[in-house]
Symmetry: C2
Subunit: 191 residues, 2 copies
């Protein structure tokens, strides 16, 4: 999506080789009007798929998921990281490693909010090694819901997460796919 690639070129900051910060429009400040246009694009891509629930993971997936859900007129469920004292034990769960935070989180979704009859679109901000997405796919499978596919804002296509997940048969649509990036040469996107 050209609009997004241009925005990444303009506002994306590369740190230490592999960290891409898009805090100016997605991960800390959310440019709501712009992100709603990303949501509209996900709605176009998955328009005839009967999506009736969007699944994402806290925190930075929530904004794009909510702004996307409006085009499907469906609710958002966000998977929670770590168990809180007021969460029921009646949950689906998966382990998700975070390279950004150098830790492993247990992510959970209450059984009450996902199950048979749901046609689920997973929305997330980033796809790199695929840890979060694999965990969310696992949770959809546990629930008996139908997985329609995944909508990712930015994919680091030079890492293998997207490839592996597509090879497993899951439809993955990424609005920008970075084939390489460096502080010296900036961004190269996949065709």
């Amino acid at each position: 999506m050209r609009l997004l690639e241009d925005r990444i070129r303009k506002d994306g900051k590369i740190k230490g080789g592999d960290v891409l910060k898009v805090d100016g429009f997605l991960n800390h400040m959310i440019d709501v009007r712009f992100v709603a246009r990303l949501g509209e694009e996900f709605a176009r891509l998955y328009k005839d798929c009967g999506v009736n629930k969007i699944l994402t993971i806290e925190s930075s997936g929530i904004g794009v998921a909510c702004l996307t859900a409006q085009f499907f007129d469906c609710p958002v469920v966000f998977a929670k990281k770590s168990k809180t004292s007021n969460m029921s034990d009646d949950v689906y769960s998966a382990e998700v490693a975070s390279y950004t935070h150098s830790n492993v989180n247990k992510v959970t979704v209450s059984r009450e909010y996902l199950g048979k009859g749901d046609r689920v679109l997973i929305i997330d901000d980033f796809l790199a090694r695929g840890c979060a997405l694999t965990g969310l796919i696992d949770i959809v499978r546990q629930s008996g819901a139908e997985l329609v596919g995944a909508g990712i804002v930015i994919e680091k296509a030079y890492q293998d997460g997207g490839k592996k997940i597509r090879e497993s048969g899951v439809r993955v649509e990424s609005l920008a796919r970075i084939s390489s990036m460096s502080e010296e040469d900036g961004f190269v996107f996949c065709d």
Copy 2:
């Protein structure tokens, strides 16, 4: 707001006396169409205030903040809990106690995304003791931005956070104010 009070009566779950779970439409599954109506109400309440930025705190404030921001056509900044390895040191910060999670978080906002010239509406899901809101107000003050007020979805008015913050001169608008609640008798809302 009657619509919200009815929804709390229908879907709110009281646990152990003081914990109110609204996971069915706000804190785990987000009823996006419904929450957008809450956002519309915040926009009505603060319509002539020149709001050009919404500030919230991860995670559960992000959805309502984004859906509210659309009515102001402004961006959302969400304060982050704890420092991540790819966040700059150039931040405003405040300490915020969480009774739900029994811990204290350092919450931070990058100096890049908040400052003079901003007219800030703080949006959050809950107000009880006022810890999160006090921290966000502190961050707005540090930044030199103008604080327009706060929009809260649910206030536990039987706790003293809202009273203290209003007495300090901050405008606080809560869409539902609970004067008492119990598993036996359900909810009583303030007039």
